[in-house]
């Protein structure tokens, strides 16, 4: 499990980093190859970067699919939780479980549809060929325009990513039923990034903001659920006197 978690994180980190660098170099290449720098220019002109755009897109789609699965684990997906955050614990519990199972159902259906599509789109041919099985009237799949990768490899992001996402939904659901906790980041800060004193780190999609359901550990509904309201009560009274300066 730990290995899968780490692998997932590494894949999406590498994909977004690499895609950025590739686009950057494609642009730099486009402009520098116009300058007559002896030696360098020929080398640049000989390099073909027309595939960069296509590769960037493919990398981002893969990142999006696996990142969405990672997002389930980190609880980043936004929803409309204005209503359910006002419900009693038992009812909220039911709705959250329903939501998680619905997520698992949807991603499960998409995974099987995607799998079917990929199979028909060339994977069938490729696997049969690989194992030396009979290939009677199985069509070879199409390839992408610039990289000439078989499209089934590219599109397999859908079944793979969706299956992983389905698994994550079930995993989160299981642990929610068992412990009553939903995945949340630490709202206060993201570690490793708060070197500045007084610098508060807030992840914008990651607050008690009615875009994410409250789990059962956040019992009080409404304003007062933020535990840190209390310490500032004294200051608040002062400020409420018509906003007079000190």
């Amino acid at each position: 499990m730990k290995v899968l978690d780490k692998l997932e994180e590494w894949i999406i980190t590498l994909l977004i980093g690499a895609a950025t660098l590739i686009t950057f170099f494609a642009v730099v290449h486009r402009y520098t190859s116009g300058y007559a720098i002896p030696g360098v220019q020929d080398w640049l002109l000989a390099m073909d970067v027309s595939w960069a755009q296509e590769l960037t897109i493919i990398m981002f789609v893969w990142m999006a699919k696996f990142g969405a699965a990672y997002g389930v684990r980190t609880g980043i997906h936004v929803g409309v939780d204005v209503l359910i955050n006002r419900l009693s614990d038992t009812n909220r519990f039911r709705f959250i479980v329903f939501g998680l199972l619905a997520g698992a159902t949807f991603t499960g259906i998409v995974a099987s549809m995607g799998g079917h599509f990929v199979w028909e789109n060339g994977a069938h041919h490729a696997f049969y060929k690989l194992f030396g099985l009979a290939l009677d009237d199985v069509m070879e799949g199409p390839t992408t325009p610039d990289l000439e990768l078989p499209t089934w490899i590219v599109y397999s992001a859908i079944p793979l990513g969706s299956s992983l996402m389905c698994f994550r939904f079930l995993q989160v659901c299981f642990s929610f039923v068992r412990t009553g906790e939903l995945p949340h980041h630490d709202h206060g800060h993201v570690d490793g990034l708060d070197e500045e004193p007084g610098d508060v780190e807030v992840n914008e999609f990651d607050l008690d903001d009615n875009l994410h359901p409250l789990d059962l550990k956040h019992n009080v509904i409404g304003e007062d659920r933020r535990g840190h309201d209390q310490p500032v009560a004294v200051d608040r009274r002062k400020d409420d006197l018509g906003g007079e300066p000190k």
Partner: protein
């Protein structure tokens, strides 16, 4: 009929609190299984091809750039520069907050990021300088909303994805309204600060200003890279976003050195996480609008409006009300992705300019981010100031009211948004 079923189902699924992306997807699937003959395979393909556009890739790049800028000390230097310029006026630090938010908005594409970047540094400083907490929170919460109006803007990229309008033209169209809104907020801040006699800073000398400018110039140059690059056609908007991500990385790690190389994977992972979430909503929203078009719902709506003699003015009013209401339940990207494909064809039929319509939607989203129950800026500000949401809502109202007035101006004065892109020949 089918329109009612689709929207009813979507609304019910959303209210159960499941992720918006999942409720969109499930609505589409249910509809496909029960009511139409569209082959399911084409849906699976759409899940991939839905985000297979190079324009969409601007979103992860801008998020990445924004994260590098937020953690990389760019915001801090912009605040110093802004304070040195306007700090000696009434409510100096508040005015500096508006100015710094406007500057940061010009390099970052999201407004909560703006509130985090500026607010987490400036708000403690304001409290220390003797400003009431709610004054500071009000200024930063609303000024942070400039983030999605002043280009670059993730919200505008979403709109252009949903409606096939030019990102470059939208960005340029955002400049004048962005400056106008910044000026409005500046004015409100100044007026209130003068009325309540809030503290002023000591006037900075020109030498100090030059020093602050020199320190922040690397961040400010990014504005030139993005806007200049898109305007002169050196980069496409997506390439400009990638350039700014790389530039922001170099800035944060090698020039300002506020971010160590070891922190980079963490920033990448966080950005990837958020981009993937947005891209996943886009994927499903594309499916959803595919169904809508397939059932020709937007056309039906347009015909209905024209049939009832509803003109531009009534339509725009209705749009504002719908979007402000939606802002109570959803976050901006989802609102744009769901409503733009429906409202856009109607707007075009009524002769409203697509670019103007995009700016109008963006300003609506800004207002939506500053009021509860769902207003990301409020929640971010509450995370920084440790103030309750009700209290913050009271604190932001003077600025929020001026934003609403501004919304009316933007809605009924297309020239404000369209003048710049027209002058630059982008449309």
């Amino acid at each position: 009929m089918s329109a009612l079923v689709i929207f009813g189902l979507l609304a019910v699924l959303m209210l159960t609190g499941m992720p918006i992306s999942i409720s969109l997807g499930l609505t589409v699937l249910t509809f496909l299984f029960t009511m139409t003959q569209v082959p399911l395979e084409s849906v699976a393909l759409k899940l991939f091809t839905g985000i297979e556009k190079f324009e969409i890739m601007a979103i992860p790049f801008f998020i990445l750039a924004g994260n590098f800028l937020t953690h990389g000390g760019v915001a801090k230097r912009m605040i110093n520069f802004a304070t040195s310029m306007v700090g000696h006026w009434h409510g100096g630090l508040g005015l500096a907050g508006v100015l710094a938010c406007a500057l940061f908005a010009a390099v970052s594409g999201s407004s909560p990021a703006c509130v985090v970047a500026i607010g987490s540094i400036l708000l403690p400083a304001m409290v220390k300088a003797g400003f009431p907490k709610k004054f500071g929170a009000g200024v930063i919460t609303t000024s942070g909303a400039l983030g999605i109006l002043i280009p670059p803007s993730i919200c505008m990229v979403m709109y252009s994805v949903a409606t096939n309008t030019s990102v470059g033209a939208l960005f340029m169209a955002g400049v004048m309204p962005g400056l106008a809104l910044a000026a409005t907020l500046f004015g409100v801040t100044w007026y209130r600060a003068r009325k309540f006699n809030y503290p002023r800073m000591q006037k900075a000398t020109w030498g100090e200003r030059w020093k602050a400018f020199r320190a922040s110039v690397w961040g400010l140059l990014l504005i030139v890279v993005v806007m200049g690059g898109i305007y002169t056609g050196i980069f496409t908007p997506t390439e400009a976003a990638a350039m700014s991500a790389v530039y922001a990385f170099i800035c944060a790690v090698f020039i300002y050195r506020d971010l160590g190389l070891k922190d980079v994977p963490k920033v990448l992972l966080n950005s990837a996480n958020m981009s993937a979430m947005l891209l996943y909503i886009i994927t499903n929203a594309v499916l959803f609008s595919f169904i809508m078009t397939n059932e020709s719902i937007p056309q039906a709506l347009a015909d209905w409006m024209l049939g009832h003699g509803l003109g531009q003015i009534a339509f725009l009013l209705a749009v504002n009300v719908i979007l402000l209401l939606a802002g109570n339940f959803m976050e901006p990207s989802s609102i744009v992705l769901i409503f733009a494909p429906i409202l856009f064809p109607v707007a075009v039929k009524l002769g409203i300019d697509p670019i103007h319509f995009g700016i109008l939607m963006t300003v609506n989203m800004e207002v939506g981010m500053c009021h509860p129950p769902v207003g990301l800026n409020l929640y971010v500000a509450s995370g920084i100031t440790k103030m309750g949401i009700t209290e913050l809502t009271v604190a932001v109202w003077p600025w929020l009211l001026s934003m609403l007035c501004f919304l009316v101006v933007v809605t009924y004065w297309p020239g404000l948004s369209l003048w710049l892109p027209k002058t630059l020949g982008l449309m």
